[in-house]
């Protein structure tokens, strides 16, 4: 089985979000970048499939040289090969087109991406790839089992979950649940050493343009100070919720 895991290189979840160049660019100063958490759950599930059922696991990123550290981390976790398409990941459409074109030339049985990246939250890359290549697609995937080419998956739905069956080839949008938080792996020294020897191939981008652009970023308005209510005066809270906030 050949698995491709799409890796987005995103600011760590605790990062302060600031913008520069007249609020047109994200300020990377002092920001630590990580594997997008939704992708990391998928990568870890791919490692499980590799170790228990035998699979070759490639990771791919559309990004500039700065994302190589994130790809090296994926290799240290256990991926076999990394591919970087050397272009700025301007929007979800552009990224999905790049990966879809790559997959046309290099087919995989299973493609795993995160349900969304935690930076631009486009929530479209795996779905667009599926649409471009006409491959079955399941997102918000919280469980993935493969046996003899048959796939059983759980998808989180509003207010519950649904169990689906399908077959390979398949694309999923993964999230927490694919593996548990404490199954995530911190690369060990051996993994890091091995990662240095593993191939990290850089490809030039295919000729597509993004179809959206970001004109400007804004930060939320500063919040008014909290109104503290005495724990013995809950009527006041109900009064405020009813008459001031108008939410009761």
């Amino acid at each position: 089985m050949k698995i491709l895991v799409c890796i987005s290189h995103v600011p760590d979840t605790t990062s302060k979000i600031n913008f520069v160049e007249s609020d047109t660019k994200f300020d990377v100063q002092g920001v630590q970048f990580v594997i997008n958490p939704n992708d990391e759950f998928g990568l870890t599930r791919a490692m499980w499939l590799k170790e228990n059922q035998g699979a070759l696991v490639d990771v791919i990123n559309v990004g500039l040289q700065t994302s190589e550290s994130t790809l090296r981390k994926a290799l240290a976790i256990g991926a076999d090969r990394a591919i970087r398409i050397n272009a700025e990941p301007t929007d979800g459409y552009f990224v999905a087109k790049q990966i879809a074109e790559f997959v046309k030339e290099n087919p995989y049985d299973l493609i795993i991406a995160g349900r969304e990246s935690i930076d631009y939250n486009g929530a479209m890359v795996p779905g667009l790839i599926a649409g471009f290549l006409d491959i079955d697609y399941v997102t918000n995937c919280t469980k993935l089992d493969i046996e003899n080419g048959k796939v059983i998956l759980d998808r989180e739905i509003d207010g519950g979950k649904e169990t689906l069956s399908g077959s390979l080839p398949l694309i999923i949008g993964g999230q927490k649940g694919l593996v548990e938080e404490n199954d995530l792996r911190i690369p060990n020294m051996r993994g890091i050493m091995q990662a240095r020897q593993k191939p990290l191939d850089t490809l030039e981008p295919f000729n597509f343009s993004p179809n959206t652009s970001t004109l400007k970023f804004h930060k939320p308005e500063p919040k008014q100070a909290v109104k503290l209510i005495d724990a013995d005066n809950l009527d006041e809270l109900i009064n405020l919720l009813q008459n001031e906030a108008k939410v009761l």
Binding site: E162, N211, L234, I238
Partner: protein
């Protein structure tokens, strides 16, 4: 050059978010001097969409569509939008609509802008405000594509009443069966889902253990609210994953979010920031959540929550 929107239903009835979507689509059509069409699938109370300004509703009734299937449902939207020459497609941010949106985008070669929170500030190129960095920021995004899908963020636009009489039209679709099939569905019955709730009652490690969640559930019942939890709580298995809200969990955009015993880590706040009013109950006055909340009570959840529940019960009785 018309606007088309897919109005979701559940058990044949339009979902609450459907009316907000109808309002947005008809206001967008007005802005464009155009008209809006709604797509409904196996839905019975179609006339109600007319309250929110949509004049034409397509009725699709097909047994292949009894269960949600992203591929088949996206085919329906693509065929309807091609048939009526629509170039603006408005979708909700439910998990089903977010699932099918990119499939529609790929087939129509359309741009997809999701998490949109307002009408366009400019029509050419279409420019909208959306949330980014998981609610830690906003961005003005634009697209010049011929076809554009707008994914409207839940609870961001509200309802705009504008009663019109509805023309219903049967619409036939051509569907090819999908490889993917639903084996089973588990839904917490009788409970409001986080996505559909007006009020969410959420609790964290401060509850000390899963055995104390009856306090949270009682309060949620009184308010007709959904229950949610912080990440550590779902990681420890006190509550199911489906209740975890925050950056890597479910996003919440509700009218009232009540956080009990949740300190307010930046990742949690990111996920719930779009909620309109936030109330925090915590015994630690230094909890970062107090900086993000509208109303706060410093106190012991085990005392405050049951008392608040009793008071709210009285309030509900008096106001019912």
């Amino acid at each position: 050059m018309a606007v088309i929107t897919y109005i979701e239903s559940s058990n044949g009835k339009i979902k609450k978010s459907g009316f907000e979507l109808a309002s947005y689509a008809s206001e967008l059509a007005k802005q464009m001097n155009s008209s809006a069409i709604a797509v409904t699938i196996n839905c019975s109370n179609i006339k109600e969409i007319g309250k929110y300004g949509i004049e034409k509703v397509l009725k699709i009734n097909n047994d292949l569509l009894n269960e949600f299937n992203a591929k088949l449902y996206s085919d329906v939207i693509v065929q309807a939008s091609n048939n009526f020459d629509c170039n603006r497609i408005v979708l909700s941010s439910s998990s089903d609509s977010k699932y099918l949106a990119p499939l529609v985008a790929a087939k129509l070669e359309a741009s997809y802008l999701n998490n949109v929170i307002s009408l366009p500030s400019n029509l050419n190129p279409l420019t909208v405000k959306r949330t980014a960095f998981t609610n830690k920021a906003f961005s003005d995004c634009c697209s010049s594509s011929a076809k554009i899908i707008i994914g409207l963020s839940n609870n961001s636009f509200g309802l705009v009443e504008n009663s019109v009489s509805v023309i219903e039209e049967d619409f036939k679709v051509n569907l090819v069966n999908s490889n993917l099939s639903v084996k089973s569905t588990e839904k917490s019955s009788g409970k409001v889902s986080i996505a559909d709730a007006d009020i969410v009652v959420s609790a964290g490690r401060g509850m000390k253990g899963p055995e104390n969640w009856n306090l949270i559930e009682d309060l949620a019942n009184t308010l007709g609210a959904a229950t949610a939890c912080s990440k550590p709580v779902s990681d420890m298995g006190w509550r199911p994953h489906s209740e975890h809200v925050g950056q890597t969990g479910k996003p919440v955009a509700t009218n009232l979010y009540i956080a009990i015993g949740i300190s307010g880590a930046i990742q949690h706040l990111a996920g719930i920031n779009s909620s309109k009013i936030k109330v925090v109950i915590n015994n630690d006055p230094e909890a970062p959540f107090f900086k993000a909340a509208d109303y706060g009570i410093v106190g012991d959840a085990f005392e405050v929550v049951p008392k608040l529940n009793e008071k709210l019960k009285e309030f509900k009785l008096q106001n019912s």
